[in-house]
């Protein structure tokens, strides 16, 4: 049993690299996902994945297949879209989701245009977005660095961020930390997505950010509990997804995300905080 789990990682360095990359991503991204979910911005991850395309494409066109250039470009484009959407939401009648939708669609169209103008039909999405099985040193360092930065920044902005999730009016009236907190949080979202895209692929980045967080919702009520459980689910899914891909001969990224999805379904059924079965059970009377 232990041999089944350990031997692929002993024999192959690409498996070790994939595991390290996935675990690093599992450490940084799910906490961000928890806050996205609490702020009802769960779909933002998906929208942002399209928004970073023009930046990454420009990076690719200027510098070729350079992880740094593409990440930088993607980061700039993603941040620009997120900021513009936030700005419009705060200063006009549009809600943030609507303005985000508008900006990401424009950004996506721009990205496709840039890709096509170059004339080559190499599937740029393939080129821009990496795969779990081909992590080189640069990609690993990028993912690990971004996980470290996001945990550190999260620790610093934790209190105002939690407050903004549950009582944004109070935070705005009590201190002037609201805007900087929001801004830093957006930076973290984009950073984690970009790291995930370049290293592991679109599906991996968005999936591992959100699915564990959403599944954790059925097990914990407070933010710190949510974060711990989300990270644990991401860890277990990464490890078992890699093993599934190894033994069952299925593509790695989808395998990991599907396992996250299995965790979500199980949590939805069995979870003790508002899970389906728990809700159907006859309830105890409230005790005094």
């Amino acid at each position: 049993m232990i041999d089944t789990v350990v031997s692929p990682f002993i024999e192959f360095s690409f498996m070790r690299r994939a595991l390290v990359g996935c675990l690093a991503l599992s450490l940084g991204a799910p906490p961000i996902g928890v806050f996205l979910m609490l702020r009802r911005m769960s779909l933002m991850g998906d929208a942002m994945s399209h928004a970073i395309l023009p930046g990454a494409a420009i990076g690719y066109l200027l510098a070729g297949l350079s992880l740094f250039a593409m990440s930088l470009g993607g980061f700039a484009a993603g941040l620009a879209v997120a900021l513009a959407a936030g700005l419009v939401a705060r200063s006009t009648v549009l809600r943030e989701d609507a303005s985000l939708a508008a900006f990401y669609l424009v950004s996506l169209a721009l990205g496709v245009l840039i890709v096509s103008v170059r004339g080559s039909n190499i599937d740029l999405l393939h080129v821009l977005f990496g795969t779990v099985l081909a992590l080189d040193d640069a990609a690993l360092i990028l993912v690990a660095a971004i996980a470290t930065v996001s945990l550190a920044v999260l620790a610093v902005i934790y209190r105002p961020l939690v407050l903004e999730c549950f009582d944004p009016q109070f935070l705005r009236s009590a201190s002037n930390l609201s805007s900087p907190t929001h801004l830093l949080f957006l930076v973290l979202v984009v950073l984690n997505l970009v790291a995930g895209f370049q290293a592991l692929g679109t599906l991996m980045a968005v999936g591992i950010m959100l699915l564990p967080a959403i599944a954790a919702r059925f097990w914990a009520e407070d933010v710190s509990g949510l974060i711990v459980i989300a990270v644990l689910i991401a860890f277990v899914s990464s490890l078992s997804g890699l093993l599934l891909s190894y033994y069952a001969n299925v593509p790695t990224g989808p395998a990991i995300i599907l396992l996250c999805g299995v965790f979500y379904l199980l949590s939805m059924l069995l979870g003790v905080r508002g899970g389906l079965i728990y809700r159907l059970l006859p309830r105890k009377h409230l005790e005094a």
């Binding site: 692929p8 024999e11 192959f12 360095s13 690409f14 498996m15 690299r17 994939a18 297949l65 096509s116 004339g119 080559s120 039909n121 190499i122 599937d123 393939h126 080129v127 990496g130 795969t131 099985l133 081909a134 992590l135 080189d136 890699l242 891909s245 190894y246 033994y247 069952a248 001969n249 299925v250 593509p251 790695t252 990224g253 989808p254 395998a255």
Partner: protein, 325 residues
């Protein structure tokens, strides 16, 4: 009411534009080829009498190509549409229908003996596909029930003997559409077939010189099945015959084991695919990266493989340099 008027004017304009696009046909035969390698062959056979537009240009990947309205317009104005067939251009049928193409479609691989490979093993079988005429759609093998899926390999041009069949099909297609040019097309085809035959000799000689133990190579997607079968090389690839599929950890692990066990000397990159996975495999096994092979597309005019025959010269040169040392 106003809207309807605007729409009608718009439609009329669109029709006019469409007509004028087709009207300046001058005296050249307008043809469209689906990808750059085929485009070069048509150009060689057609010479000055023929105008060739290729849909998937140099270094482009025809497996995942998505046509633009300009492509549809180009095709609508063409008299002949040359395609590879064998399921290579999955987008072809939709484009033909949507563009309102009225001309004749010539399947260049008609009469080629198709190779099949089973998805399970990732190895070529060299058997004939069960039904040669069915090859258009079932190449991706998606709706097969069998356990080990048999997939037709579309990369037939990688065998120069098949290249001759392509040329014959192109010649016949051109003659059917433009009988006046018959003599010219036949003369061009004879010259070109000669050149292909010479190149075939050269390729065989160059590769025959390789030692038996160094005849295995790794490429990123399975584009060299015909090449390997014709010239005695064994080819292993982590992706399937289409660049669309994604490798599993098991695929990669198997290849790494195989490289180590059989001491495969070199892995080769392709001009149309992402090289990161192969980089990883090379790092892990110590096999060297032998260079870039041109598989599904030519290079630009300044690159190392601007024509079909140049592509063979470049590929064989790269292979022998890496394998003989």
């Amino acid at each position: 009411m106003k809207y309807r008027l605007v729409m009608q004017i718009g439609l009329a304009l669109a029709v006019l534009v469409g007509l004028s696009g087709g009207a300046d046909a001058a005296d050249k035969v307008k043809t469209v080829a689906s990808f750059s390698i085929l485009g070069d062959m048509v150009r060689q056979v057609g010479g000055d009498r023929v105008e060739v537009v290729t849909l998937v240009g140099p270094d482009g990947d025809a497996h995942v190509f998505s046509p633009t309205p300009a492509d549809a317009k180009t095709l609508a104005g063409a008299e002949i549409f040359f395609v590879n067939g064998l399921g290579f251009e999955g987008w072809m049928e939709r484009l033909e229908k949507s563009s309102g193409f009225q001309g004749k479609t010539v399947v260049a691989s008609q009469g080629v003996k198709p190779l099949t490979m089973s998805e399970e093993e990732g190895h070529h079988h060299g058997e004939e596909a069960k039904d040669e005429h069915e090859h258009e759609d079932h190449a991706k093998g998606e709706d097969h029930d069998d356990e080990a899926e048999e997939v037709t390999d579309p990369h037939a041009w990688q065998d120069l003997a098949n290249g001759k069949i392509y040329v014959a099909n192109i010649r016949d297609g051109l003659i059917a559409a433009d009988p006046d040019g018959k003599a010219i097309y036949e003369a061009n085809a004879v010259t070109y077939l000669d050149a292909i035959a010479k190149e075939e000799e050269a390729v065989k000689q160059a590769l025959a010189a390789l030692p038996e133990a160094r005849r295995k190579i790794i490429t990123s997607h399975d584009a060299f099945g015909y090449f390997g079968a014709a010239y005695g090389l064994e080819i292993v690839a982590p992706e399937g015959v289409s660049t669309e599929s994604e490798a599993s950890a098991q695929d990669v692990a198997k290849i790494i084991r195989q490289i180590k066990a059989e001491k495969i000397p070199a892995v080769f990159l392709e001009n149309v695919t992402d090289h990161r996975l192969l980089d990883q495999i090379a790092r892990e096994t110590g096999a060297k990266i032998g260079g870039t092979l041109y598989s599904d597309a030519l290079s630009g005019p300044d690159g190392p493989a601007p024509t079909y025959l140049d592509m063979f010269r470049h590929n064989v040169g790269t292979l022998t340099a890496a394998l003989s040392s």
